[in-house]
Amino acid sequence: MTDAFFHPSILFIAGAFLIPLLWGKVQKAYLLIIPAIAFLICIGASQGTYGVYNFLGHEIIFAKIDKLSLVFSYVFTIMAFIGMMYGLHVKDAGQHMAAYFYIGSALGVTFAGDYFTLFVFWEIMAFASAYLVFAQRDDAAVKAGFRYILVHIAGGVFLLGGIILHYAETGSIIFGPIEQNGSAAFYLIMIGFIMNAAVPPLHAWLADAYPEATVTGAVFMAAFTTKTAVYVLVRAFPGTEILVWLGVIMALYGVVYAVLENDCRRLLAYHIVSQVGYMVAGVGMGTYMTLNGSVSHAFAHILYKALLFMGAGAVIYMTGRRKLTELGGLYRTMPVTLTLYMIGGFAISAFPLFSGFVSKSMVVAGAAADHRPVVALLLTMASAGTFLHTGLKLPYYMFFGKDSGLRPKEPPMNMLIAMGIAAFLCIAIGVVPGQLYNILPYPVHFEPYTGDHVTSALGILMFTALGFFLLLKKLDPEPTISADTDWFYRKGSLIFMWFARKPVGAWEGFITEIANTAVMPFIYAVARLGFWIDRNIVDKAVNGVAGIIMSLSAGVRRVQTGLLQHYAIGMVLGIMVIIFIFSVIK
């Protein structure tokens, strides 16, 4: 066991400042070397607590390393490498810096041992990722970016409120499992976390912002924000019953919206919601098997979802189009992209020999073992929907279907290499799951490759395909957008503005009118009266008093002659008066 641990967040966040100073090949090499070093650090790290500082009488723990944080750090650093490779051709140093901040803060959350550290990195993550939306620089992206950052700030406020209450109740800021006492702190922290996990109805920011981000930025976003949320949920909320049902709803919710969606990356974004649903449900059930399932599914998900976003991003990058209604027939000129995308599609759909099969089934089997047949059935239904969209609908309308006449070339080599690495890992995990199972937080007693599991999985998937081809006409994408819970703040803000302009404005006008016609003249009249009273009564009274005093003092002044004999006469007369008074009264 080594005593030192070089925190990879420092590597990324401090390292980000070097990026704009480098150029050309040196910069590219640097962008790739840092994630590689970070990965090696995480591989070499031993469990323990590092970087403990005293801050205002509290222990700040920058790195608490156990199996749970390690497995997330592995996949985050692998993903950092893949994502940087995919974005290597991008000249905008700002985007690379934002990505580094984003990765660094996600790792910071992963290793955080206390709520203070967690919260700081949590907020850096929100702002760094928002930049990846803004960097797209068109009007829709800027607006979506602002909505994204506002929603995340709101979520952060919930989290902070929960942390403060938690501290007030327990006197501790150590980040760990929270007591299931239904206190306000419990729910506020949970709301902060599940908002980042995109649990409906707090999920709309994801499907709103991700498709507006840059081609390369969206790849990072698909990987980090929701999965750090899964990590903190696994750490703090295992066995929270409500999460089981929120997770199941999520899994199906994403599927329903994916049917309606026409924007290719928004369709994929809704499938993030769906897939994270499995992980949230796994956390909710809270058995070793389902928690392992959540963690392994997060691991697999980061890689195949990134691959899918990279595939769709490659098409957007080469064609400049993102709507399925405007794409089609690209298989002719982009067969490699298609193949790599399909590997991601098979992985997310949980085809045997692909990564989703060995991770997703652990959650579903865990639900069955936990005596939750309805959960198991509904999650299985959602996985049919997953294949339907990401494995069939999207590739069909993008690469096959009606010919759009577009003949784009394959994307740049660095994009293909990045997709190739992700595709390789999707297959490797599926073929040799033991390696992934070994790094999970709890011991694994699960064998995915049993005969009946394989055949029933294939049955579900292939007959989903049959349903797809039979109902193909019904599935044709339509040039629409779908109203989601972001309606409440997008249209809601319009209602608010209308309310501010119309009723509030009218009321304000009415009040002004009354003020101008009735209140102000009255006030003027009172003021005039006051002025008259002041001038004619108060001033005259003051002047009168002054006149009396002046004439009095004029009289008194004449008494003061300054001649000694006058004063002497006065004194003698006074003494005589006193003597006279005393003799008479006696």
């Binding site: 309606l260 067969p335 239904m381 339907l388 029933s456 579900i460 349903g467 629409t480 109203a483 249209k491």
Partner: protein, 84 residues
Amino acid sequence: MLEKIVNFIGDEKNAKTNKIILYVILVVVFAADFFVPREHAHYIWDKIPGWGAVYGFVSCVLIIVVSKFFGHQGKLMKKEDYYD
């Protein structure tokens, strides 16, 4: 190799062949489910051969029909300039 397979699948001329291949796969998958041991079955439906195929198909149809119902009748689908 890769290009050939992709072009074969994509070519309209092979639509019929592709269909036949799909049907063969479906039959094989469905049949295979009858020949596997089921000692891991938790619930009654896990013991029914062909359950996965039926459930997959029903799920697929249900998802499409219900979603489109929400989209059209539930007015979730809006014109693209809805928020502008």
